[in-house]
Symmetry: D2
Subunit: 370 residues, 4 copies
């Protein structure tokens, strides 16, 4: 297995970029949960290609279709989970294959083409990246959009922002002061930032890269509020382990950190430790949150804070060195077609979705205080 994760809630993702459809099965969702269809579509629109500046309604053709696991209807607003596996598909459009002969011979640097060729002995579908395509993140966003709604009813809110693109940085979350409202506000934006002033320079860097037939990477920062203390288990079932296993499933993610993360390397214990105090409501809180809400893999009741590094889009218009698998000789490759010069804005809702799925799965698998 591979495209399959989760404990009590099990997510199975299927599809290939140019095959008939992509989709997923979510097995183990709680029964009777109302689903807001418009919210699901809105999350999927955040990830959809070519949308981040516009408010164009999502093309009907890319709408998810429910196959099982719900009763009621989106139109009448009474859609609910049944508790049975929730299956969904999205038909692929425009899957005329064009000429993939070159691609089958010349693995693209930075893509999974060559490892995939070896792994599947050349039998995998390479059109558009096949099962390795970024399109496979659409079902993950769908699953996350379902989970977010259930989490919200339990008081848990997930949201994030673009922290860095091509060296231009937004400010970080104030980790001890993240609010439900801030996250909910961010989680509906197409280009979510804490400091709107950095949008223009970020976009400029992306545009410059595009003009250079090149691409740029970045970092996203995601937070969750409202998590109870005591969620997670020691060692390998900690929240960090579970979330990292999900996040590295998002294509182009090459680094994951919690709280100060790699920044801890330059800190002292006296700075890094988060002291406790009773707040005015008699609740135990930490007065700082360098640990991102997690100690020993278990939530401490503070906001969860994590960051994921997203590498520059591998598909670039420049000529690159590669090999010709058929000829057994070195070769040159120029990747054609239009590709995002920066995937970070579209990766953000995917990473939020992965976090939402992981949090709900953990809450269903083990209740704090169990």
């Amino acid at each position: 297995m591979a495209s399959n994760i989760g404990n009590r809630i099990r997510l199975s993702i299927f599809g290939e970029s140019h095959g008939p459809a992509v989709g997923c099965v979510i097995d183990g969702l709680p029964a009777g949960e109302p689903l807001d269809w418009a919210e699901i579509l809105a999350q999927m629109a955040r990830r959809a290609p070519g949308r981040d500046k516009t408010s164009t309604p999502r093309r009907e053709s890319d709408t998810p279709e429910l196959l099982s696991g719900t009763l009621g209807s989106a139109e009448q607003g009474d859609l609910r989970t049944t508790g049975a596996p929730l299956a969904m598909l999205i038909r692929n459009q425009n899957t005329r294959s064009g000429d993939y002969e070159e691609l089958s011979r010349l693995p693209r640097p930075g893509h999974a083409d060559y490892p995939g060729f070896v792994r599947y002995q050349g039998y995998n579908d390479i059109r558009g990246g096949g099962h390795f395509s970024g399109r496979l993140t659409a079902p993950l966003v769908f699953a996350g959009a379902v989970c977010r709604q259930i989490l919200r009813r339990r008081g848990v809110h997930v949201g994030g922002h673009i922290l860095e693109i091509a060296g231009v940085s937004d400010r970080r979350f104030d980790p001890a002061a993240v609010t439900d409202g801030l996250l909910e506000g961010l989680s509906v934006r197409p280009f979510a930032l804490l400091d709107p002033a950095v949008e223009v320079p970020m976009r400029e860097r992306v545009e410059t890269a595009r003009m250079d037939c090149d691409s740029v990477g970045g970092i996203v920062e995601v937070a969750a509020t409202g998590l109870p203390a005591g969620l997670g288990s020691p060692m390998f079932e900690g929240m960090e382990n579970r979330l990292a296993a999900l996040l590295f499933g998002v294509p182009a993610v090459k680094g994951v950190e919690f709280g100060e993360g790699f920044g801890f390397a330059g800190m002292r214990g006296s700075e890094a430790n988060d002291p406790y105090a009773y707040d005015k409501n008699g609740r135990i809180v930490a007065t700082s949150n360098h640990n991102g809400g997690l100690l020993g893999g278990i939530t401490n009741g503070m906001p969860l804070i994590l960051r994921a590094a997203v590498k520059p889009t591998s598909s670039i218009g420049r000529e690159q060195d590669t090999v010709d698998l058929r000829a057994g000789a070195n070769a040159k490759l120029t990747v054609h077609g239009r590709h995002d010069p920066c995937i970070v804005p579209r990766a953000l809702p995917v990473i939020e979705a992965a976090v939402a799925f992981g949090l709900l799965d953990a809450m269903e698998t083990e209740r704090p205080g169990d």
Copy 2:
């Protein structure tokens, strides 16, 4: 479950710092594998407390005891796995509990005390950190030492070095030029560095922190050579997912990155992509290795490169703010006892061990080209 991980090889770790013993069961090891007991002890000595400067032979009392899963004997040099679960224990010494009354009331900032208290409703063993203690990494090092030997016979070598302590940095691996010999050489050192000249300044920073009743963090870098291309599966069973799920099981690890990791955020695609070429032996290689040997979660035959951030030791001698769980009031806490002012050198062999376990498990679970 929690302290339990792996696919075809399943590792179950048990123990509490001040209970009778710590240990593990490794279920699913291949049968007939010779075990070099001295190598196992040497790896365990790298992790053992208070050893990093000395060549003192390991105290007998801390020697692992085999309970099952092997035939032959260490003495006669004919120890081999049987294929049955390999169980091992290490007796705890000096487990007189002393006065833990204070600790049970006053959760230590930066430790899992408070989340653990909530998670286990106060029933967990808090003496010495209980099951959250760093001592629980001893069985992981044991498991890794077993796996390293099997990997080596399959041509795979694992090693690492201290990349940073308290702002003092070693140089990074040259990711496309890491050799088996380099890794094997590093993997036996107590304070492994690529540039020996940084040892003195690193130690000075640690010593300064100790004098300040404080602690410092750092980063370790680990590599593996000899991995076949095509190992790993897409999405959630990629090598990045599996290794991250293991690495975040090591206490104090708060960030994990592969290849350039967070450095990708400032790179362009034309820099980040690793071009392919045929080498003089007609083998496909990448001419650079920014992706750390992994594309789409699957090995490409280049060295695996990863880094893990280690936070400063939470136990510091300074007075800290906390709460008194019994009194329901704010309180002051001073952690007594001797604690490592920097855990990074001892974390390195643990992280190498986690990588070795993850790689062997992946190789046993799915063979490239399957």
Copy 3:
């Protein structure tokens, strides 16, 4: 999770009887395996309702649709697995819900209605049994039909027969003499028997029950040849454990036995033990096969033999006692509609499919001699 099983090959089944579709995702199939579409349809036809006497071609409307995981086409005969998750759906027809109000109040005796009501707090889809419907076995037959083809190319053959219906018995397999050809021959029949003479009396009993507005149960016997010795692992990953976990997923199965099974209770060790000998080809064989090809959960190279008990169809036309969940009072229920008076003939291909899936998963997860 629930409708989700397997180690290296993971099967996720979705759907509800009267929802939009039923289907499955099979994650982890080997890549490059040719698929014979006609064979898949033929297996599905064996399970389809109302077919067991006829050779009517399957209604187009019930044809599975491939969503991912294959390349090529059924028509051109070049359909192959890609190694990516293979997803399939079958649209439900005639799902006008009719009047399910009564059913939602009055749980049917012998069905999962009442446990399902409690389990899902009343939110599950009860129309036609919802996710508990026998229709959910269609995707399992599909998965089994895929696995059978791959197994056959590896020399493994799966087939079975109706051993008993309503007290009328076929003869048992001669366990040491089952041949590939016998199993392949049985595995395409709509009403598979070793002794054709028992078909008439079996059908008579079924017909009598139908006239009585009642139903009857039975037993199926399934075998597999060509399995290598050494497949399976001790204790909980033995072939018996894996297959039983699959077989009890088939609705109405209430008992599973291997080899002599419950018959061992009346045997002596000297009768039950299977002696070994070298055959004329120098291969080790057992000269009898009371253990059904399995010792300690591991194959010994003899044919695998198992039996599954199938309870009488729960839906019967007679008035039955039940409760009215809404009124909180005892009530009478008469189940309307046409129901199979005996599900055994249709259960046979489902049970064969579950066995085929379990065998291929085991062969992919652990190779004998690993």
Copy 4:
């Protein structure tokens, strides 16, 4: 992995008959559960060899030793789980290996010797059956004894009896009338029967077989009361699937059935369905219990009823045909040593233990009504 099972509670069993020890790790037990040590020893004594007629206190040498996961002490009666993995070992005594040269050449019919030889390429420990030994059921009984106590505090009671030995039958449970008290009474007996009068003829048959250098098989029947309705999930996570996967992990178990099991084959639906009614307390009950408390794999609130077939002990004193693996020729084998001529009485507590573990794991994994 192999000797490893469970969802939220994960059981890992280790050991070899003549190695240093057998034992287990139970990861995921709820925290703060009091453990009655005497009850644990009593259950282990039921399984211990050579005890079924006597009340001799258990030999100290076979006492389990706790390694982790508890606080307090058995002596002071304040032993409790901590929530961390509970590890336990039992030292093996008298493990002088004697002459196993013959055994390594001549696989015993009916044992796992030959499949194990192939599976582990001859590297497995064959002394006393190694990891396949019945001695490995001791840790399972231990785990079950822990789980029973926790279950009892939740109102769930597990017990069973010998239903058949060598053709002599006890009466079956009255499935709708099993009481907590009946089960608790049975669960402490060394030779548990509903009808004490059958003990003598059963023992006579065993004695006769022993005199014949032969062995006999039998059937055990186990029940559980107090289970809430709604426990279990559809298809592959039903209680039948989970329990069968556990039960086939008990050596010599070759068949498992629930409710009427194979008896359903001769029943009609009108007999097999269990009607519902409100009892005098306004609770929904079934007025019969042919389905053994399970419909669609989910509990209906009635007693759980299951039966397991136990094959005759494979080790018999008679000469048997086998092969000489070294000489590559047919050979004769006479198994020496004292072996139980009937394993059924000792298998009963093991099977009860497996059921107890499975029930607690299910209750921790999914709460009814979740």
